[in-house]
């Protein structure tokens, strides 16, 4: 008897599944609106708009576009441990609804943007931190290692204990770029300085929104006598900055945005020496403008020090006394005299 009911249940479930899959003809793209020109579709990486760092830089670009170009902006955010399917769906729903350009913020979108772009040849796509593989995709990458080199110079000039450290969010190729530049910057300035390097996570993108872990790590580094900590870890960076601000004489170096100017970090700004700024906002704004002007940017675009794609923040005036050193290093990079490695 039990066997019969179980079999029946199994059969019904299978049949129901088969029916729903085949019978329902309409797909979501058939019924969607789909008219063009609804504005900008922006898909954030984990951490969301208010990460005070990377995503926020992109958001500033769209905010400016809103004001200056009068475009509408739709924002969506990635969750932790997402799969490709989820990212593809997010981008597809934006493109389907008629948003143009559709921008993925973060290298996590690298694959999905290029895949979805194939299905929407008339829409311009943009991806920050990843390359372009399709005709209608703009792959916007930055010379993070160059900016990191400069903050490394600043760190080397400011440290008293001759020990500085680096915290990366996730041990991947992108964040290693930050590490490589920073370490080189420090060593070129003073080879005797010790640089402690550590990553929050080996492979999970949780590293970009786990401020608690960054805080713990920073605490350990401070305890071991490091007095300048550069954190390249998106939203997690706030945790490290908070911890550094508790210790007198220690400096935190921010990343991606000018973190001294971040509202959410106002309380700790006295400890933010400088930031390795990635002008994601400029890149995002330029892309939106190019689409608005009907001359969409596509292909691989690199934003380096020479093109003002990356820079060093001077807010707070904490590095005014060493400005000459930083400027000199900056000029050397721009002239090609110093080659900053992008891998550690």
């Amino acid at each position: 008897m039990r066997r019969v009911t179980q079999l029946a249940a199994a059969a019904t479930a299978t049949a129901a599944l088969a029916l729903t899959v085949t019978a329902c003809g309409e797909s979501s793209s058939d019924s969607g609106g789909g008219e063009k020109g609804k504005g900008v579709g922006l898909a954030f990486d984990v951490g969301g708009r208010d990460d005070h760092s990377f995503n926020e830089a992109a958001a500033r670009g769209t905010d400016r576009a809103k004001k200056e170009l009068g475009v509408k902006v739709k924002q969506m955010t990635a969750g932790n441990n997402e799969t490709e399917a989820t990212r593809e769906q997010r981008l597809t729903s934006l493109a389907e609804a008629g948003y143009d350009p559709v921008i993925g913020v973060g290298f996590n979108y690298g694959k999905s943007i290029n895949k979805v772009a194939k299905d929407f040849p008339d829409t311009t796509f943009g991806v920050v931190d990843s390359g372009s593989e399709q005709k209608n995709v703009a792959g916007m990458t930055f010379a993070e290692h160059e900016a990191s080199y400069l903050v490394g110079v600043a760190a080397a000039k400011k440290t008293k204990s001759k020990k500085v450290s680096f915290i990366g969010g996730v041990d991947n190729a992108l964040i290693q770029k930050f590490e490589a530049g920073y370490v080189k910057g420090v060593k070129d300035t003073d080879p005797k300085i010790k640089v402690e390097v550590d990553y929050l996570y080996k492979e999970s993108d949780k590293g970009f929104n786990d401020p608690a872990r960054a805080k713990d790590m920073a605490k350990g580094m401070l305890g071991r006598g490091n007095d300048v900590i550069y954190t390249a870890a998106g939203q997690s960076g706030a945790g490290s900055i908070e911890e550094v601000s508790k210790k007198k004489g220690a400096w935190a170096i921010g990343v991606d945005s000018d973190q001294y100017r971040q509202k959410g970090l106002e309380k700790y700004r006295g400890a933010i020496l400088t930031s390795a700024v990635k002008n994601v906002d400029v890149a995002v704004f330029d892309l939106i403008k190019s689409v608005k002007d009907d001359k969409p940017m596509t292909g691989d675009l690199t934003f380096d020090l020479k093109k003002d794609g990356v820079s060093v923040a001077t807010s707070g005036g904490f590095i005014d006394d060493i400005k000459d050193d930083v400027d000199k290093a900056s000029k050397k990079i721009a002239d090609g005299e110093v080659k900053v490695p992008s891998t550690p």
Partner: protein, 394 residues
Amino acid sequence: MNDLGETPEQRALHRHLEDRYWLRLRGRFSKEKLILALAAPVLAIVAALVLSSLVIAASGKDPLHAFSVMIDFGSKSDSQVWIVNKAIPYYLSAAAVAIGFRMKLFNIGVDGQYRVAAFFAAAVGGALALPGAIQIPIIILTAMAVGAVWAGIAGVLKTTRGVSEVITTIMLNSIAGSLIGYFLSEDKLAVKDGNLFHTTNLPDSSHFFTIPTDPKPIYGTIVIAIAVGLAYWFVLGRTRFGFDLRAVGRSEPAAAASGVSVKRMVVTSMLLSGAVAGLVGMPTLLNVSYNYGTDFPAGIGFTGIAIALLGRNHPIGMALAALLWGFLERTGIRLEFEDYAQEIVEVMQGIIVLCVVIAYETVRRYGLRVQQRKVGEELSARAAGTNDKPEVSA
């Protein structure tokens, strides 16, 4: 009892009636059992709907509109394909967890097991270039073997050293992450591709088939999930091994007393659980990514725990739960698109699991109480009936 003044025939009739009465009573219990069995899921669904509505309403949005968006979008054909594809690894993960659950083993290490398994399977697959008919089984078997070994460590530690599998499996998760991170670098088993590191791509021959549906295909790896579901049902429900396993889960001393080697069962079921966990990464590896990279999905092992709980460790229940999960995730992105908070769906998933667990426990306790009361009543009525009999028959 002859002093009641009954003839033997009367007594026989009495007995017969009494027996029939008890049979009827038992019958009524099983009917009630059916009602109770239905009550639990219904209660859970209603409670989950009410609570989710409250949460959505509290965030200042219209819950009814949210549900209609979800149903409307979730029933589109492309959504259904997406949901089925998403449910495949979830189901495999739930089955892996459930094997442990059935004998009260809490394998929370499925996450690490499937990642290590998928990684080494991808590395092996990337290094070989054999015809698909040979290569695909090699990849799958590698994954199962690696998953089994990884879970087996916890099983052996439990039986030889008495370390709780909860501790070991969760630690092995983090060791798995570090191990993969160690090998996923350019000078070891990985190639660099933009910002990603991944293993060498599998040759085209190792791509699993897909079932063509419109507009996107369903992953062929669904057959693996179905096979695992059938094997799970058969082995646990229809074999001596399955009986022993469940017996250990019910009561270790009782099982040991009846001749089951508890230690062997612990190791065997951890190995089995790990082998199934090894399959979790296969739909992604063989149907989507064709390599293991830094972007390989993580966390499915934990989703599996929720789905096993939701599906009550039942092969069909877990399938429905996995599909429900896929549905919620698919429609969740749509909800975000409609300006609902992105977290709503995660809250809903949590509420549903809680409601199901609580509803089943409540209904079970209620059923037990009713049964106890009934039996008590019947027994006292029966006792009273025997005493009254002389007067009645007089």
